[in-house]
Symmetry: C2
Subunit: 348 residues, 2 copies
């Protein structure tokens, strides 16, 4: 493998012939076509195509909106206590998650259903939001945790009053929306627009785009197992997951007793993205499993009705490392200062 | 005022004569000398001088150490719960503070003495750390909140075990310290080195450096009152505060009944920095006062034994806006992922 990379590097040094040489290497690997056939799709490398894919015509993604959305995303004043921001549970430093089994929010309240915070990275590629898919998009989703009593616990009114009390925010809302009336919907829409940009291209995307050298031999081996065993039937598309699926299918989920989540009214549960899965432990809707190997094994049993060997599990796990992507560079924001009019934080 | 600025701008366009012209303007303002005489000092504009001022010979500030320190500063895995980082209470997005009266930490526990989180910005200029000055420097200070039960609540051992379990961290410690043994002291020292860089040059610094146009007439008016009334006797030096002072002096502090803090064994309390004071409400050691105007009025009474008029209060407040500085640009870090060996978060 190393040798192939080195030869290609050498070829690159020769100039334009490289592209052809590289393309030739790529076309010789039938695994790329097999992966595409299985429904796996790349994050577009072309910026215009990507922008089209992540955009929401009802809430267009613009630079100014994203800049404002970033501020709101990191702003703890959007919680009742003034201490919890979107980033608390969907921490952009740690794979877009909080790294605990069940979310802990306002007044140290654990999620009443023992639900694990899903990653915000690549959430734009999910067909629905929340584990039970009850929300159609990120703009709608963002309204939930702000208001949820065990999360940020703020009322729509207090959120609007807090933001409206800071002139620098009002000015920015005006420049984004054309008028300076801050509404709760605008706050959530703006956060949603920022979240749409949180996509993380990974080696696997390069592979699907034709660069057969983007994956190691071991990762390719794992990809084969991943496809052969049927993992890609749920973990598919650009999101490598994100659709609603029955769970469990073949066998009961061994940690079903933790929490009381049963999926949507049809028992469907959102298949989480596998992008950055190496960074988002613990796993499953109830965060019951810390080991990625164990999570893969359980998925084989519950969803595919198959007992994966340790070797197969290890191989799939190796493939999954190719889904760990490059995170957007985020400059930590400077937030407007509170004023005498800003409603005070309420700790209880 | 505007006219003066415009003339100088016009002069700048003429070339080198400008510097002289500007210097002339500066020298004509005796307030600069008066401010210096009162003990007020600027954050050095010259990088080498600044580095010397913020450095700790026992823990030299290096780029690599600061980069690692930034990661640790933002890392919630340094708390028992995995949810609280240094940045939770000293939020670099909101003036280096949490914006609540008394710090709230592990398991939503409020600071038992009802103490307010001081800003981390410019903390390097404080002669002592903590409200009672019990810590000599930032490296020593950083050890406290990590271990304090109502703050991050982690043991030294668990902190070391968490960090040591992530190979990317161990590698970085090795490159900074020459060996890969992570210790609690090294963790705190590294955070301290990062914190030393968190300084925020403000218009007032430019003024002290000779640019008489850096302050508005109203700010200069306020500075005069600030000096005349004696505020600069405690809020002095580069930190515009940071020394240990008796509190209260002339009259009892009207909110003394909130919390039980009495200062150090001699009743001395650290005079907080006034840098970025417009961003760090609520005020005083117990965060009892939200209005900066009220805080100024109280200081006049308790410390200076003088009843400041509303006009004087407003004027001082206007001067204080010139202390709101430019924050260092912080790229939000990407933290190493936990491994199977990482001790799990403990929520209770």
């Amino acid at each position: 493998m190393k040798q192939i990379i080195f030869s290609i590097t050498a070829l690159i040094a020769l100039g334009t012939t490289t592209v052809m040489a590289k393309a030739t290497v790529a076309k010789t690997d039938p695994l790329i076509d097999a992966a595409k056939k299985a429904g796996l799709a790349p994050i577009p490398a072309d910026k215009a195509t990507l922008m089209k894919l992540i955009d929401n015509p009802k809430n267009p993604v613009t630079d100014a909106k994203v800049a404002l959305g970033k501020k709101l995303y990191f702003d703890p004043r959007l919680s009742k206590s003034g201490l919890i921001s979107c980033n608390t549970c969907h921490n952009l430093a740690t794979g877009g998650v909080d790294g605990v089994p069940a979310a802990i929010g306002h007044h140290w309240t654990a999620n009443p259903h023992h639900l694990n915070s899903p990653t915000v990275y690549n959430a734009v590629f999910m067909s629905k939001q929340f584990w039970d898919g009850r929300s159609p998009d990120l703009e709608d989703q963002a309204q939930g945790p702000m208001q949820a009593a065990p999360e940020m616990a703020i009322t729509k009114e207090m959120a609007v009053e807090r933001i409206s009390s800071m002139p620098a925010y009002v000015k920015e809302f005006k420049s984004v929306y054309g008028d300076d009336k801050v509404t709760f919907k605008k706050i959530a829409d703006t956060i949603g627009a920022f979240e749409r940009t949180l996509v993380t291209p990974a080696p696997f995307d390069k592979f699907l785009q034709g660069d057969a050298t983007a994956l190691t031999d071991a990762q390719k081996e794992g990809l084969k197992v991943f496809i052969d065993k049927g993992c890609a039937s749920c973990h598919t598309g650009v999101g490598i997951g994100g659709g609603m699926q029955p769970f469990p299918v073949a066998k009961p989920y061994k940690y079903a007793n933790i929490g009381d989540f049963k999926g949507d009214k049809n028992g469907m549960v959102k298949a989480p993205t596998l992008r950055n899965i190496t960074e988002t432990a613990p796993y499953f809707h109830n965060g019951a499993v810390w080991s990625l190997a164990e999570a893969i094994k359980i998925m084989g049993e519950t969803q595919l009705g198959t007992e994966l060997t340790d070797k197969e599990v290890a191989s799939i796990k190796t493939f999954l490392t190719s889904l760990t992507g490059e995170k957007p560079k985020i400059v930590y924001p400077q937030l407007p200062a509170v004023t005498d009019k800003t409603p005070k934080p309420v700790a209880k």
